[in-house]
């Protein structure tokens, strides 16, 4: 990324020491109990960022988020986590603080383009102004929304209490629905004195203007040129959910593209800060709802990190966790390949094959965790239950012997036979097809430098030739003892992303084959080493836990004040951040390629919008 010779400082403490020397007044240690990293003076933040990127090799700004310390210093804090990619290692954490009333922090977009959407999100939800941001607008909510909802003093219409459990539920739990206590009977809250009479909502034309796309000149009687604004979504068959893109076209060619999101913004983080530590586990299922097991895992390891020595995950639990994570990776990649092909116009046949294979894995999840998709399986310190003896049901409804099979036998057949067969079949069906090649090769290019600069992660990053996989770069669980390769592809186009996913599935099968004997060896060993109580308290402090999810780096930034609920619960969503380079990737291509590029990034809206 830079031609300079990187200094030989590799370990984090000496880097921090050197940085403190370099910025004697602006950088100081974060001395709060349980916190790490440094606090940087807001004014010297851009300089600091440039130095760590260019001189210390922290070229990848993974996560950027804000915390509202209302009542604990009454300031807003922006927290950054920067990594070295591809060499890996622990992140450098730096923070900048600002006043709650007049919150301004210099923007880092010019140094880390990947900060773009994340800064907009912090602006949207916390009202922090990032000075110098090229396009600082609301991203998840709409312009005109009242207030910044993630601030601690923001109360929504159905607000009952600061933290769960609510007192009204027990022992005097007289049931009511939230809407019964709202004058409108809806989940709405208006500012004082608000009426509709002279209210002018933002019009679509303003909206387009604000997207810096210009006005749609189709309506202009003097329409002569062929520059055209096209709106894709939020209801569009190919956007993988409720995602919207504003595209400015010259003829068929894309001039610029702006993603518009927030159509599935369901306030995951706000609710997460109210939930108990355990209560968040089933909510993480609903982030990337195709990969609930992996989300559970990332959340569990983050909280375990905060609990320190209080919990220890038994070996068998780790084995089961990896089993689940890798099966999930296969489901996700099957799904994403199927739907990429949908987007390319191969409507439904590849998706049908992919879904059919996925069903077998879901059967196993259902038998083990109780639900096909929303597994809620990991616990802090282990997993929910051991694998069932047999995959079957004695349910009275039907005497179905279909799944009356020994679980290990089922897994063996699945891993040794069924999954490889399905992967090969997809390969045979698709990889050499000339149509796919001509649609995919050379389209949606993302060079390696750009991928890193834009904080792309997961298959998107690796398809651009960057061998960065958190399972290797920052190992967790039992990945260090498992053999697998980090797949990469050289070109960073749609085809490479497709093919990389095929390769990754094969690697996952390879991991699973190593898991099988471990499952047998550890049979009967404990699967839970945490606290059995229904509510846990987590020591005060912060933690950033992250895992290699099928879609990229899923991180949780959690802050605890020592109680039963997180103070801050932030999700570093790969689907969200991987969209940052979408505009760049689409530029110059035809409008039909947009959906293919989007499909190759593989997003899930539950995670993008949270």
């Amino acid at each position: 990324m830079t031609d300079q010779v990187l200094p030989q400082v590799t370990d984090l403490p000496s880097t921090i020491a050197a940085l403190k020397e370099r910025f004697p007044n602006a950088v100081k240690d974060d001395t709060r109990n349980g916190y790490e990293g440094v606090i940087v003076d807001a004014a010297s933040l851009p300089d600091f960022a440039r130095v760590i990127r260019d001189e210390y090799g922290f070229n990848y700004l993974s996560s950027l988020t804000a915390v509202d310390y209302l009542g604990h210093g009454d300031h807003l804090e922006v927290v950054y986590h920067a990594f070295r990619v591809p060499s890996g290692g622990k992140p450098l954490v730096f923070k900048a603080q600002t006043d709650r009333q007049d919150a301004v922090i210099p923007s880092l977009v010019s140094i880390y383009p990947g900060a773009d959407f994340q800064e907009r999100e912090a602006y949207d939800l916390y009202g922090i102004h990032f000075a110098g941001h090229p396009n600082l607008k609301r991203i998840l909510l709409w312009e005109g929304f009242e207030g910044h909802p993630m601030r601690k003093d923001y109360h929504e219409a159905y607000y009952e209490q600061e933290t769960k459990p609510f007192d009204t539920r027990w022992p005097g739990g007289h049931v009511f629905r939230g809407e019964e206590y709202n004058p409108f009977g809806h989940n709405v809250r208006y500012p004082a004195g608000f009426t509709l009479d002279d209210y002018k909502p933002q019009s679509e034309a303003d909206f387009q203007q604000s997207m810096a796309l210009g006005v749609d000149i189709m309506g202009d009687p003097a329409f002569r040129t062929d520059r055209l604004v096209v709106n894709l979504g939020p209801h569009h068959p190919s956007t993988h959910g409720v995602f919207r893109m504003m595209v400015a076209l010259t003829g068929e060619t894309i001039e610029s593209l702006e993603p518009v999101m927030g159509y599935l913004h369901r306030n995951h983080e706000k609710i997460g800060e109210r939930n108990t530590w355990y209560g968040n586990m089933p909510f993480t299922d609903r982030l990337d709802y195709i990969c609930s097991m992996c989300n559970n895992l990332a959340y569990a390891i983050t909280v375990e990190q905060m609990m320190g020595g209080q919990v220890s995950v038994p070996y068998r639990a780790e084995v089961i966790r990896v089993l689940m994570a890798e099966l999930t990776r296969i489901t996700n990649h099957l799904w994403s390949i199927g739907f990429l092909l949908n987007d390319l116009g191969a409507f439904f046949t590849p998706a049908l094959y992919a879904i059919q294979t996925r069903e077998y894995i879901l059967d196993f999840f259902e038998a083990t965790a109780g639900s096909r998709m929303m597994c809620n399986y990991m616990r802090i310190g282990g997993v929910f239950k051991d694998l069932p003896q047999r995959i079957r049901s004695e349910a009275a409804l039907i005497n179905d012997r279909v799944r009356d099979m020994d679980t290990l036998e089922y897994l063996e057949q699945l891993i040794n036979d069924r999954l490889p067969r399905s992967i090969d079949e997809l390969d045979e069906l698709l990889s050499e097809s000339e149509i796919i090649k001509s649609r995919c090769i050379g389209v949606g290019l993302l060079p390696a430098e750009m991928a890193i600069a834009y904080s792309a992660s997961g298959p998107l990053l690796r398809a651009s030739g960057v061998p960065y996989d958190i399972r290797r770069a920052n190992p967790y669980s039992i990945y260090p003892e498992l053999e697998f390769d980090i797949c990469t592809r050289p070109n960073g186009d749609i085809y490479d992303r497709y093919y990389l996913r095929l390769d990754e599935m094969r690697q996952s099968v390879r991991i699973l084959k190593q898991i099988l004997p471990r499952l047998k060896d550890t049979q009967g060993q404990p699967i839970f080493g945490g606290k059995t109580s229904y509510s846990i308290k987590v020591p005060a402090g912060e933690a950033y836990g992250f895992a290699e999810n099928p879609k990229g780096e899923l991180g949780f930034y959690l802050v605890s004040m020592g109680g039963g609920n997180p103070w801050r619960y932030h999700v570093r969503a790969p689907s969200f951040i991987n969209l940052t380079p979408l505009g760049e990737m689409c530029k110059g291509h035809k409008v039909a390629d947009v959906v293919a590029v989007l499909g190759s990034i593989d997003i899930v809206l539950g995670e993008t919008d949270r």
Binding site: P165, F166, R169, Y353, G370, R401, R403, Q413
Partner: protein, 297 residues
């Protein structure tokens, strides 16, 4: 050759087409037989996969969780007929992530002191996320996850907040839908009875726990009878719907049936199950309003 990749891909789809037709032909007229169904759903399968719901249904595993329900003693229990297992301790209401459980703790009418029994118990299934925490953390095995997913309704204001009457199910229902788990729990409790009941019995100098109507049996791998049909024969289903409409307590029939089935010379998969046609069913579980329709019907 240009186009060979496409042809190769088309070969795959063609193979699928052919295998499904072969399956269709070889299973002509037997499509709903249980062994055919088994083949269709097995991992080795390459052709037809469709589960022809509602004629055939994919069985749900024991751990399957849909909406929660409350456990009570069987109505025909000699000592504690229909007694709630819930002690109104409030743990489920506290642990529930979206806070959709509402419990009014019972009070003793005489002393006015709280007593371990819920007066009212509500679950708003429009909020419930089927996470299973309530069942997992309940210390008395009093709340469990139901397997009945056929809950569609035409009206939600009245149908979607389940009250105590709607939630309560006899323990035999739980034993029938999740026999292995129920047996494990029974072993952990130290007997069939509710933990508090066991304590009370011990105090009174009785045997702590009575043997349950279904004795706890170890999970045998192969209890299913030789011939089982997957589909529910419509003829058999009809009277059950009738029965569910009467909403009568399902209990009394239980004792009468087992001898009849034993006479066949076959052992039922569970004590108390009866044979209807070719398949075993649990007469008590069936009476539950499994096919409950919405209000609008």
């Amino acid at each position: 050759m240009y186009g060979s990749g496409i042809l190769k891909g088309l070969g795959v789809t063609f193979r699928h087409l052919i295998t499904t037709f072969i399956d269709d032909i070889q299973w002509l007229g037997r499509k709903r037989d249980v062994d055919v169904f088994q083949q269709k759903q097995s991992l080795a399968n390459r052709g037809l996969v469709t589960v022809e719901y509602p004629d055939e249904k994919l069985a749900v595993p024991e751990r399957f969780r849909f909406t929660p329900f409350l456990i009570t003693y069987n109505q025909d229990d000699p000592d504690y007929p229909g007694k709630d297992w819930c002690t109104s301790c409030g743990i489920c209401a506290k642990v529930c992530p979206p806070q959709c459980i509402w419990i009014v703790r019972g009070t003793d009418p005489k002393t006015g002191r709280p007593k371990p029994e819920p007066e009212q118990f509500y679950i708003d299934i429009d909020i419930c996320m089927n996470c299973g925490y309530c069942a997992e953390y309940c210390p008395f095995d009093a709340i469990k996850m139901d397997h009945n997913y056929e809950l569609a309704s035409y009206e939600r204001t009245s149908a979607h907040i389940h009250d105590k009457a709607r939630l309560s199910r006899e323990i035999r229902y739980w034993q029938s839908i999740a026999p292995t788990i129920a047996a494990e729990e029974e072993a952990a409790r130290g007997g069939y009875d509710h933990t508090d009941v066991q304590k009370a019995r011990k105090k009174a100098g009785l045997e702590p726990s009575r043997p349950g109507p279904y004795a706890a049996k170890p999970a045998e791998p192969e209890p299913a009878p030789a011939a089982v049909a997957v589909a529910e024969p419509p003829a058999a289903a009809a009277p059950q719907i009738e029965a569910s409409k009467t909403e009568s307590a399902p209990a009394p029939k239980a004792e009468a049936t087992p001898p009849a089935s034993a006479a066949d010379g076959e052992t039922p998969p569970h004590p108390g199950w009866v044979k209807r046609g070719k398949r075993w069913i649990d007469p008590n579980a069936k009476v539950e309003p499994v096919r409950r329709k919405g209000k609008g019907e």
